[in-house]
Amino acid sequence: MSGKSSTSPPEAPAAGPDRRGLIAFAWLWVGIPLAYGLYELVRKATQLFTG
């Protein structure tokens, strides 16, 4: 069973406002807390090699 699909993405028609600012804001909204969590994780994980 293939995971490949012939269906094309349902991208909305190009007409409409430029949403690049909103996309950047949305990804930063979730990316910053995630980066903080990952930083704390890496800090703790290094204890395996130094602890």
Binding site: S2, K4, T7, G16, A26, W29, L41, K44, L48
Partner: protein
């Protein structure tokens, strides 16, 4: 509340952050242990009692995902995310009231029951929408969201600990921490509610389920009557059980394995090992799930279950002689554990179509609840019996590993038995001619 349809020009890349806003929040559940010690000392609770809100929350996650799935499909992702926001945040606010008034039952009810409904509805809320937006890469899309559930604990764990340190570990400090959690998560999840959109239906399919004219389309009720659903249930259950087998006792396991060697593992290093496993779990969710878009769902589960069994065999045979080998095998197993969670929505989409994939996914999550009981039970029970028999070190876990290998092989066989769903289970399609229906039947038979 009707499902919010994307306006012209709406980018599908706004949907994953909407999903992440919800999943990163509800993933906090796995950081509940941060609240356990202060609750135990402030309210005089035992370890078993302080675990109750989390346990009830996970039970409610499974139940609400299983029974609320159809409603989520009908009302749409914005409704589901709103319910998740209200329940998850209210759970914290009720817990704040419970801590402030020293009424522990209110914390159990608030966080466990009310918040748990938010966990289940929130978990399945973006799945179907993501698959519809990313029919070309469903594995990657759901992998991003489900990675968020793993990431939620990574954020909450240090954040909650710092908050408790600032507010104090007495009941007023805990109440204040719960209050801040409830309000912050409400604001954070709001982005998901505001951003999420369903794709505009193609002109030919107006009035019909989105993308209803391509691929198999099976209703949630009919899906339960197919062997494919139960085979996948078994696949997910065995894969999760095998992952939990390591995750449940990771810290004592690595300590026991190398206790009698020249390089024993310290408590600090064991904590680092647990953190590394979390990283592998998260990386597996996005990495393996995205890979499944390239190599296919059946093949990726062959990898999870077949190579997973091999990794367990390597640990059982050579684990105590090489620390790098032990760590590497455990990391691979945990990456497969995460990958198994993240790939299953796309596997369901391949088999049952997008029609009610969110609801079917919700029902399949009962396999997770079962594994959540089964995995720890096997590892702990076996380790206790071995200890009673006078064994120590790595020999405490040998039998558990053999059981895990057996489970993974059973899951592998179940995956091999998965075939395309018979057209008689497909929903009837508007405007479909008899010739088209016959062609569909023939395609199935040739597959």
């Amino acid at each position: 509340m009707s499902p919010p349809v994307a306006p012209p020009g709406w980018s599908r890349w706004l949907v994953p952050p909407a999903a992440l806003a919800v999943h990163l929040s509800i993933g906090q559940a796995y950081a509940w242990s941060v609240f356990k010690p202060p609750l135990e000392s402030a309210l005089g609770l035992s370890g078993t009692q302080s675990a109750l809100p989390f346990q009830l929350g996970i039970v409610m996650l499974g139940l609400s995902a299983a029974f609320g799935g159809t409603l989520v499909e009908r009302r749409g992702p914005r409704w589901a995310m709103t319910v998740a926001l209200i329940c998850f945040s209210s759970g914290f606010l009720l817990s704040a009231l419970g801590a402030a008034t020293e009424q522990y039952w209110l914390i159990v009810f608030g966080y466990g029951f009310v918040g748990g409904i938010g966990l289940g509805i929130g978990y399945i809320s973006p799945v179907s929408t993501l698959i519809k937006w990313f029919p070309d890469r469903p594995g990657m899309a759901t992998g991003i969201a489900i990675m968020g559930f793993g990431g939620g604990a990574l954020i909450a764990s240090p954040w909650s600990a710092q908050m408790l340190e600032s507010f104090g570990g007495d009941h007023t400090g805990i109440a204040l921490a719960f209050l801040v959690h409830g309000l912050t998560y409400a604001v954070f999840m709001l982005l998901g509610v505001l951003l999420v959109r369903v794709p505009r239906p193609a002109p030919a399919t107006v009035g019909a389920p989105a993308a209803a004219l391509t691929g198999p389309q099976v209703s949630a009720r009919d899906a339960l009557r197919t062997p494919q659903f139960w085979l996948l249930w078994l696949v997910l259950c065995t894969n999760v059980t095998a992952g939990i087998g390591i995750l449940e006792k990771a810290a004592p396991m690595i300590t026991d394995f190398f206790a009698d060697t020249s390089a024993p593992v310290s408590v600090t290093a064991a904590a680092g090992f647990v953190a590394l496993l979390s990283a592998a779990n998260m990386a597996g969710r996005i990495g393996w799930s995205s890979t499944s878009d390239l190599i296919g769902r059946k093949n990726i589960y062959r990898l999870y279950l077949g190579v997973g069994a091999l990794m367990y065999a390597l640990i059982a045979m050579f684990g105590d002689s090489s620390k790098p080998l032990f760590v590497l095998c455990a990391l691979v197993i945990l990456s497969f554990y995460g990958g198994g969670f993240a790939t299953v929505p796309a596997y369901l989409k391949d088999l049952f179509g997008t029609y009610q994939v969110g609801a079917i996914h919700g029902r399949l999550l009962t396999a997770w609840s079962t594994a959540g009981v089964l995995g720890p039970l096997i590892v702990n029970w076996v380790a206790d019996r071995q200890e009673e028999a006078g064994r120590h070190g790595s020999s405490l876990y040998g039998l558990s590993f053999m059981i895990m290998i057996g489970l993974l092989v059973a899951g592998f066989v179940a995956n091999e038995l998965v075939r395309p769903v018979h057209p008689r289970h497909h929903v009837s399609r508007p405007h479909e001619t008899k010739e088209a229906a016959d062609e569909r039947q023939e395609q199935h038979e040739s597959a």
